[in-house]
Structure formats: C-alpha cells, structure tokens
C-alpha cells in the first residue's frame, strides 16, 4: 500500500460521525456572508442595503487575481454591509441578509439527475469555475480557477483528488464520497479536461473501505481515473505528501506542486466543480461535520454559507457541558473557535468539541534530544532546532534550516514526549522569516 516517504504520525482515528448521512441544515433567519472566504484579497460587495437577492445571486466581485466572487446563499433583503467578527475574532466585512423564503436563481439546475457529459471547452470550464466562486475546500481555500491555470512554462501531467481526509474526526469528505461518488468523479473529469491531462487519481486512505469500494465500482465508466488506496498516516492529505504518496514525486523546497506535474484538488472541491459546471450552481453550500466524543449528536450537515455557528451548535444538541474547546477544522490543524456567533464560510469543515482532558496541554519539560520530532516531520526538517532558533530570534539560521518549508501540520508537537510546543514557536518563526524573505529586493 502506498504512502508518503518521510515522517508522519498516527493519531487515533475517531471518525465517530462516519455513519451519519449528510443532512440539509435549515436556512437561517439571518445570513452573514463574509467577504473573506478565500485566500487573497477580500471580495468587494456589489449589493446595498434594501436590495432583494435570490439564492445563488452574485453579491460580491473578486478584488484581484487571487480572489473569488461571493454568491448569496439565501434569498431575502440585504440589511447592510457590516463588520463582523470571524471565527478567530478578527474583524471582516460581511453582507447581512434577512431571509425571506427560499427563491433560487432560475439558471441553477436543481434536479437530482447526474449529468456526466462535459459540454464546455477547457477555457470555458476555468472561466465558469472562477465565475462560480469555487475555492479549494481542503482547508486553504485557494481559488480553484487560479490553480487550474498553471503558470506559463509549467505543464500539468495529472490531477490528484484528495480523499485522504487524514485529520482525525472529520468525515465530510468521506460522506461525500459515499453519497455522491459519481459527482466527485465527474468533477475530477471536468478539471482534467480543463487542465488537458488524461490521467487522474483519487487518493483514499485505507480506513474508508466503503468509499474505496464504491469508487472502484465506477472504474468501467471513468477508466481514466484511478483509485489509489493509501496507508493511513497523517498528514497524507497535505498537498506535497499526497503527491509523494500517489505518484512518488517530491515537490522541491520552495516549489509548487505543479513543478512535479501534479495538480491536487480536494473531494469537496471536485463536487463543487461538478455542481458549478454541470448544474450551474455557485459555491454557497458546504459540508461540515459536527462531532466529538462529548457531542450530543454526531452530524454531517450541508449548510448554507453564512449560517451562524451558534445556530448549528444549537440545532445539533447544544454545546456539551464538559466541552472545553471548540475547534473548526480537524484537531491537528484546525483553529479553536474564539467567537461562536461567527458565520460559516465556504471552507468551514467541522465543529469539533473536545473535553478538557482531551485538549489540556501538559506542562512542558526539557528536550531530551530523542529526535522523535525529526522522525515525524513530513518535510524532513528538524523541529527541535527550528524551535530553538525561533525562540532565540536567530532568523538567518532558521532560514538556512528551511523553516519556510514547514507545512504547520503539528506532527512535531504531537509526537514530542516532553510536550514542548514546537509548532507554536516554529509557526511564528516561519511567518517572520517569510516576511524577511519577501522584503528582500528580488534578484
């Protein structure tokens, strides 16, 4: 069985919400649609207070090359453009819409029929994906249209669909693979056509046998897409790790995945691409998991973007009394939620409740030079050293030791027997070094 070549850890699976079918979450009374739902510049709203909008109507234009448009996820009246607090507590601009009914834009095909014939030409597909506001749903929310347009001189050779879902607890991608496998494969086929490649892969970890079986059943229909079973190991869903695992090529330091000829897209993104291109539906819905051992209910929801998280928590049984930390995203790379009234975004993948016992940091002790972090680092770095250099603010040495290659997966902190918060310091060091490198005049 395939897996990536260096590092990695094996956190407990905890996919306890795996059997919960995706439910449609009710439309909220008021939707707060953030303008910063993607990597890059926030979108610029084109609606004003008092405007009537329909579901799927464009409400904000992209503000730059790396940016994405935003569509309304509800129908109703625009209350205004307000400054709200996001998940982490940072302020961002949002269009606030008071919901009236559920009237969709007529051009969206709402039938359940699976359309497999791809009519559009490659250029038109990329334009459509850009127009529909599709962003990478694997976590980074990088605009998909940009990723599907390789820079001049670089040629894509194959497409890899990321179905690893290596983060513990999360099951939204798994549910999508089980419930809408054909749509995901068509989405992949669409992106392959856009890229002009003939070979596609879907990488799925071995702990999802049902999804693998279902996908393999479609082999005769989509022979150009190969299903690759991967050994369970975190962070297999990392772009660079997945390329290594599936095709055995390593992305060079400071390089992009395209340097190996690979383009990686998430399962959720493939599904969104399918809906955008075949059904004309912009990205205004997402799939998220509500889970945790202490959670009242295990749920997988299809939610409208802009639904307040507190509302989702309330409907799914409320915040458990013994929950000490609520995380959005997986437990390894996700962020603790600072503001539970924040709205969901395109890329919101989970609400995870952890008890104090599960989340409390243990007191830090001295490094015993066991080099477990070195063995665990999937980028081949030396976390103990980077931690020391970052703490001592020795930025030039940190740069020489490639701190910028860190993917912030957290394997080092996870594996450290002395409970040293390695990643906390390395992340800060990486940000500082990147800033220094950017400020240098280009040669």
């Amino acid at each position: 069985m395939k897996t990536f070549s260096i590092g990695g850890v094996h956190p407990a699976d905890n996919k306890i919400s795996a059997d919960a079918a995706i439910e449609q979450f009710p439309v909220p009374e008021v939707a707060y649609i953030s303008m910063s739902q993607h990597l890059g510049a926030p979108a610029e709203p084109i609606v004003a207070a008092g405007d009537k909008v329909k579901v799927g109507q464009l409400i904000a234009n992209p503000a730059g090359f790396i940016s994405a448009p935003v569509h309304s996820s509800v129908s109703g009246t625009v209350k205004g453009i307000e400054t709200i607090k996001d998940l982490a507590g940072n302020f961002c601009k949002a269009v606030v819409i008071e919901v009236e009914g559920d009237e969709w834009v007529e051009t969206i095909d709402r039938s359940a029929e699976v359309v497999s014939e791809i009519k559009l030409e490659p250029k038109a597909i990329v334009d459509k994906i850009k127009e529909m506001g599709i962003v990478g749903l694997g976590g980074a929310t990088f605009p998909t249209g940009v990723k599907l347009s390789p820079p001049p001189g670089k040629k894509a050779e194959f497409l890899i669909i990321n179905g690893a879902e290596c983060e513990p607890y999360l099951t939204s991608d798994y549910r999508l693979l089980v419930e809408c496998p054909e749509q995901v494969l068509i989405g992949a086929a669409i992106m392959m056509k856009a890229l002009g490649v003939t070979k596609g892969f879907v990488g799925v970890e071995e702990n999802k046998p049902k999804a693998i079986e279902i996908l393999k059943g479609f082999h005769s229909k989509y022979p150009q897409i190969e299903i690759v079973t991967l050994k369970k190991k975190y962070p297999q869903g990392g772009e660079k790790q997945l390329i290594d695992a599936v095709v055995g090529r390593q992305v060079p330091s400071m390089g992009l995945p395209i340097d190996t000829g690979a383009v990686v897209q998430n399962v959720g993104t493939a599904f969104a691409v399918y809906e955008a291109v075949q059904k004309n539906k912009p990205l205004f819905e997402g799939i998220m998991t509500v889970t945790g051992q202490c959670a009242a209910q295990q749920k997988n929801y299809r939610h409208r973007v802009g639904t307040p998280l507190s509302k989702i928590m309330e409907v799914s049984g409320g915040i458990p009394e013994n929950a000490a930390k609520i995380i959005s995203g997986g437990p390894m790379m996700g962020k603790a939620i600072n503001n539970i009234d924040a709205p969901t975004l395109k890329g919101t993948s989970s609400i995870l409740y952890l008890t104090e016992e599960q989340t409390k940091r243990k007191p830090e002790s001295n490094c015993i030079r066991c080099a477990k972090c070195v063995a665990a680092c999937p980028m081949g770095l030396e976390p103990f050293l980077l931690n020391k250099l970052a703490k001592a603010k020795r930025w030039d040495d940190a740069e020489a030791n490639k701190i910028y290659d860190c993917i912030e997966c957290g394997c080092c902190s996870f594996t450290c027997p002395a409970y040293i918060p390695l990643l906390d310091n390395i992340r800060l060091g990486k940000a500082t070094v990147m800033k220094i490198m950017k400020s240098r005049p280009k040669k």
Partner: protein
C-alpha cells in the same frame, strides 16, 4: 629519570622563550593603531550591552562616537545625561541634555476592567498568542499578559502584576532602552518623557475600535469621545482612529483632561492627591484624621503607579 625531567623542563622553557620573542616582534610589526579614546569611552559606559542605543553593544557605541567625532546621533538611554556628559568630556565636546524617558504601559485592561472571553492554553508568549488570534479578551489592541516585555527587560524594571494581569514599570529601574516596546507585539508600551518630578499624563489605551465596541470590551477603554481634546488648553491631545493621544512635548500637565475622561482612560502619575473642591469650607483637621490623610498621601502615588 631525573635527566628526562630536566631535559623536558629545559627544552620547553627554551621553546617558550623563543616563541615569546617571535610573538613580541610580530605584535610590534602588525600592531593595530586604535584610538585610545574608544577604551576610555567604553570604560565610562554602563556596560549593559543592551543595544538600547541602536549599536551592537557598549564598545560599538564607543566606536561609533569616536568615528563620528560628535555625539549628535548617539545617546545612551541607560546611562542617561550623566554618562553622556562624561563621554562628552572625554571627547572634549559639549552635549545638550536630553529629557529622561520612561516606558509607559498604555493599557487599562486589568482583569476587573476587561473580562476574559476565552482561555489561552498555548505557549506562554505574547508573540505566539498574537500570531494565533486577537487575544483572550474582547479587545484586540490591549495587553496580552504573557510577559514578553518582562522577559525582554535586562534591568528587572518591568514585572507582571498578578492582580491586574498587566505589566508594571519600575520607573527608578527603567532605563528607557526600548527593549520592552520592541518586544510587545501589540505596541502597547511607549517611551515617554519621564516628566518633571516624574509626573506624567498619558492615555492608557490604544483601542482603535469605535467607542461602543471598545467600551463593551473594556470598562476603562478610550472611546474616542474627544472631550479631553476639547478641554486641553495647549492642544496637546489629538483624537485619531477613535483613540486619544497626548503629545508629551506639548503637555503642560494641567491634568484637566484626567477629570474630563468619562472612562478614566487618562492617567496622571505621581501627582499629589488633588485637594478637595475649593468651594468646600475647610474642615478643622482633627488629630486622629491627620495621620490617615498623611498615609493616604504616601499611598496614592504608589496606587496610581500600579496602573501605569
């Protein structure tokens, strides 16, 4: 046996003598001429090597002074005017006195004023915390309370008050080297004029949010109402981005603004307690009350300084 020892001692002594002679001539031949003034100045310096002057250390400072030939661009904040006078004398120059500075913590967000909204459980460092989220309270501008400033201080002049959760500057130990101001990721700490008799007036808040938002996050936040700016007879106060700032070069320390501030965000430090309202008739001081009033006088500046 004894011959071996004798041979060893003699041969090594001869070798040592020979090398000493070689070294002497080499040292004479390749001698680096250095201005003796550098050594003189270095001896005058406090020797903290803190970098507060902008040079790599005290010797680098001395070299920079000698190289420039004047003291226009150089000032040792640790040694202050005293040291600078000595340095100037050694160089045969005159130096203009600089008003002494002190680090001032511009945050009022004690545990009582600013309720915590979350519990931060990560690595105890303001810089790390700041890179993760805006802070564990509703205010995204204020002190994070992890003590990066206390770690940065080489003079033990800044410490965290466990009661308020805010750093406290010891004005006698503070040398105004600026290490704490540099370490603070929120830019809460500012170097300000130490003031006559150590008296200072400053706005102890840098929250740029609109009044209502700032007030909701912290009871003692500057809400940018502008009352202080209107009251100030010297135009020392400006309100920009919903926060007031007192220009210490213009402030005459009349403290009118302190009374005017609705949230108590403006602090006056080391002023004697204000006399009771002048209209009130003077009550005869009873012997029992006198010591109490005396004690209060002493206690007041310390209490105010705590919030500094």
């Amino acid at each position: 046996m004894s011959t071996i020892i004798i041979y060893t001692v003699v041969s090594l002594s001869l070798l040592g003598l020979l090398l000493a002679v070689v070294l002497y001539f080499v040292a004479q031949k390749f001698k680096v001429e250095e201005n003796p003034l550098i050594d003189t100045i270095e001896a005058i310096m406090p020797g903290a090597n803190c970098g507060g002057c902008g040079n790599a250390g005290c010797r680098a400072f001395a070299e920079a002074c000698v190289k420039a030939g004047n003291l226009d661009a150089q000032f040792c904040p640790v040694g202050g005017n005293e040291t600078m006078k000595k340095v100037a004398a050694a160089m045969g120059l005159e130096v203009a006195e600089k008003a002494p500075m002190v680090a001032v913590v511009r945050c009022n967000g004690s545990c009582a004023n600013r309720a915590k909204t979350t519990t931060y459980d990560g690595y105890k460092s303001c810089a790390v915390m700041n890179s993760l989220y805006p802070g564990d309270t509703g205010c995204r501008y204020g002190c994070l309370g992890c003590g990066d400033c206390t770690n940065a201080c080489q003079f033990g002049a800044i410490s965290m008050d466990p009661e308020t959760g805010l750093p406290v500057v010891d004005q006698d130990k503070c040398t105004a080297c600026g290490a704490c101001a540099k370490a603070c990721p929120k830019g809460v700490i500012e170097l300000r004029n130490k003031g006559i008799k150590n008296r200072r007036v400053f706005v102890s808040c840098i929250n740029k949010d609109k009044g209502a938002v700032a007030r909701k996050a912290c009871k003692a936040a500057c809400i940018g109402c502008g009352k202080c700016a209107k009251t100030c007879p010297f135009e020392a106060i400006t309100v920009e981005n919903n926060v007031a700032y007192i220009d210490y070069t213009k402030c005459k320390m009349c403290t009118k603004c302190v009374a005017e501030c609705p949230t108590g965000a403006i602090h006056a430090v080391n002023f004697p307690p204000r006399p009771a309202a002048p209209a009130a008739p003077k009550a005869p001081v009873t012997p029992a009350a006198a010591p109490a009033a005396e004690a209060k006088k002493v206690a007041e500046p310390i209490a105010v300084e705590k919030n500094n």
